[in-house]
């Protein structure tokens, strides 16, 4: 409302129309004023000519007779006219009579030759009339002013009419509609009324259009509202699942920036909400210790292939296992569900260990050995040397028979301890069953390592084994040794070779070792 001209349609259109009309009026006046002035001037001139016409005949007689009296009377009559400033009648060259001022202005002077009344060919004199230019100018001015004033009045009247029409036809209906619109409660389904008399015209159409738009918008609003409610419900549902899930759920990008996470995530990675919301939030890779490199590689892979993947990660610090199920979340993000599988891992490894361990000696059992050798040979490594030592006790059956199974078991335990003491930590020792033992020495290709081990073992057995304070027993051992390289030999073949070498040692008189040599075949 700062500027009424700008805020009111009627005022503005009036101002514009008035300005236009005034401009137009001025142009018309500018064009017509000179025309009016010219016409007025010409009319004055014609009038003067008329005056001359009136007196011409009598003036001719006065000139003809040289009658200064008559000429004077004529000029007196002429001088009564306001537009006449001066007049003169000549007879021949001689001035018969003159009145007023003939002035110097040549433009206002009318000269009329006077012919003899009896001979049209004989000029007897002339009449000279000087017009009063000042008076004529005044009259011209007055005429022009009158015309201009009339035009101006017309313009003003026209402007007023336009204002009235604009107010009546446009502004008032629009104001009415606008006022009704302000008070309209659309959400209650209220509609605009068409102002009286505007049912058939553009205003009516406008109102109908507005009503149609209100309908459309209200419908749109309602469906939008319903949708939003449904969406909110869903979101709350999902939010609850997300918040209450026992699995850590989070979204990260390839740089490890955590975009969102649930409470379980905080618990799993032992991060406080303050840390995460702080100015320097930890990256995902900061939370997984030495697993950062591999994890980043898997994240990249997941994004590049645009395919879900599962990773198991060991956190060395708290000693835990995590399973991360990664799915691409679009726009370079990865959605991750992380579960703590430490307990499961522990249970599994315990079960595995149990299954592959000989309960009596604590060494590996046959299953453990088979897993171990297959792991070694079925792996990708090529040309890694290893040695396999097969070992069978001699006279064990006698210990069992004479001293009972308990003594036998004690012997087996003792042998296990001896082997464990002789072997390197990395060597795998298993009891395959009964009194049969095996050693798998990875990375060993030197005979002397194996023979020394065998020799030392045999030397220990040379002495009787003290099972307890009262009982000592003597057992021997037959040992078969075989060498192989990963990728060059199968598990079955190398086992057969070591077994064969052991039987050879038995055949050669027991309590000794034999080495399988390929050249021996």
């Amino acid at each position: 409302m700062s500027n009424p001209i700008r805020s009111r349609l009627a005022l503005r259109s009036t101002a514009i129309i008035t300005a236009l009309l005034l401009g137009l009026g001025l142009v018309v006046i500018a064009i017509t004023a000179p025309v009016i002035a010219r016409q007025e001037s010409a009319s004055q001139h014609r009038q003067l000519e008329g005056l001359v016409n009136t007196v011409e005949h009598t003036a001719a007689i006065a000139s003809f007779l040289g009658d200064d009296q008559l000429a004077g009377e004529i000029l007196d009559g002429l001088s009564n006219n306001a537009t006449v400033s001066g007049a003169l009648i000549r007879a021949g060259e001689q001035v018969l009579a003159s009145r007023g001022d003939l002035g110097g202005e040549e433009t206002g002077i009318i000269r009329r030759p006077l012919m003899s009344p009896f001979n049209r060919d004989e000029q007897v004199g002339e009449v000279v009339l000087a017009s009063n230019q000042g008076v004529i100018r005044e009259q011209v001015k007055a005429a022009t002013l009158l015309a201009s004033t009339l035009l101006l009045l017309l313009v003003i009247a026209l402007g007023l009419c336009v204002i009235a029409v604009v107010v009546r036809m446009i502004t008032r209906p629009i104001t009415t509609i606008s006022n009704r619109l302000h008070g309209l409660k659309v959400e209650l389904g209220q509609k605009l009324d068409i102002p009286n008399g505007n049912e058939q015209d553009e205003v009516g159409r406008l109102v109908r259009d507005v009503n149609a738009m209100i309908d459309y918008l209200v419908n749109l609003l309602n469906s939008e509202k319903a949708l939003r409610r449904e969406k909110e419900l869903n979101e709350r549902k999902f939010r609850a699942i997300f918040e209450n899930a026992q699995s850590a759920i989070f979204v990260t990008d390839s740089q490890g920036v955590l975009l969102s996470s649930n409470p379980a995530f905080l618990r799993l990675f032992d991060v406080s909400p303050q840390q995460l919301g702080g100015p320097n939030p930890p990256l995902l890779f900061d939370l997984v210790g030495d697993q950062a490199g591999p994890l980043q590689a898997r994240l990249r892979q997941c994004l590049d292939n645009n395919r879900g993947t599962t990773v198991e990660v060991t956190l060395s610090q708290p000693g835990r296992w995590l399973e991360l199920i990664m799915n691409p979340g679009g726009e370079g993000t990865v959605q991750v569900i992380a579960n703590d599988i430490t307990a499961f891992k522990h249970a599994t490894s315990k079960a595995e260990q149990k299954a592959s361990t000989d309960a009596l000696t604590g060494l590996g059992n046959r299953l453990g050995f088979e897993q171990r050798i297959h792991n070694l040979l079925d792996g990708d490594a090529r040309g890694e040397p290893f040695a396999l030592i097969y070992l069978d006790l001699d006279r064990f059956k006698e210990v069992n028979d004479s001293h009972g199974h308990q003594a036998g078991d004690a012997v087996l335990i003792k042998v296990g301890e001896i082997l464990r003491a002789l072997a390197r930590k990395s060597d795998f020792i298993a009891r395959l069953g009964g009194d049969e033992f095996v050693l798998l020495l990875e990375g060993v290709d030197r005979e002397d390592v194996c023979t020394r081990l065998a020799t030392e073992f045999l030397a220990v057995l040379d002495q009787p084994l003290a099972l307890n304070d009262t009982l000592s027993v003597s057992v021997g051992a037959s040992i078969g040794i075989a060498f192989g390289e990963t990728g060059a030999v199968s598990a079955e073949a190398i086992i057969a070779q070591a077994d064969e070498a052991m039987y050879r040692a038995k055949e050669q008189g027991r309590h000794r070792y034999c080495i399988h040599r390929p050249s021996a075949h």
Partner: protein, 155 residues
């Protein structure tokens, strides 16, 4: 317009014929002056100037005294100025108040004209040719001017 012109021509022809006939019986109007006026001839313009009051003297310098022959006045002015008597009367009426010029003296018959002219040196009048007497000098017959006029007017 054409009809009017035709009518004028017919009128002129009739006049010419009539005047010829009049001249033949001495009806022609003749300007007369005193024998001592010093005039032997007079042009039509000089006659107009004298009779219409413009000149107060005869070309010879004597104060002019024009005399109208009342019964022939209309005919005379028609021949002299080609104007009707009404126009001539109107002319003189305008000049009544100025008093600078006055109409010719009016004579009721030829005898009076002849008498005035014979007794005044500056007098000038007109009578029909058959009324001429020895006391005046005939100057010019008006038929001459009419003929001149006819000649100049008619194609």
């Amino acid at each position: 317009m054409a009809a009017r012109t035709l009518r004028h021509l017919i009128l002129l022809a009739a006049l010419a014929w009539g005047c010829q006939a009049l001249a033949d019986d001495g009806a022609e109007l003749v300007l007369v002056v005193h024998p001592d006026s010093g005039l032997t001839t007079l042009s039509r313009d000089e006659a107009i100037n004298i009779f219409m009051g413009r000149h107060r003297q005869l070309p010879s310098g004597i104060t002019a005294l024009p005399v109208d022959l009342a019964p022939a006045r209309a005919e005379f002015y028609q021949l002299l100025t080609d104007k009707t008597l009404a126009q001539i009367n109107s002319y003189w009426a305008r000049l009544v108040f100025s008093g600078r010029a006055s109409p010719p003296r009016q004579a009721q018959d030829a005898a009076e004209v002849l008498d005035i002219v014979a007794n005044s040196r500056g007098a000038i009048g007109y009578v029909r040719r058959r009324d001429l007497s020895a006391g005046v000098r005939p100057l010019v017959g008006l038929a001459t001017w009419r003929n001149l006029q006819t000649a100049s007017t008619a194609p």
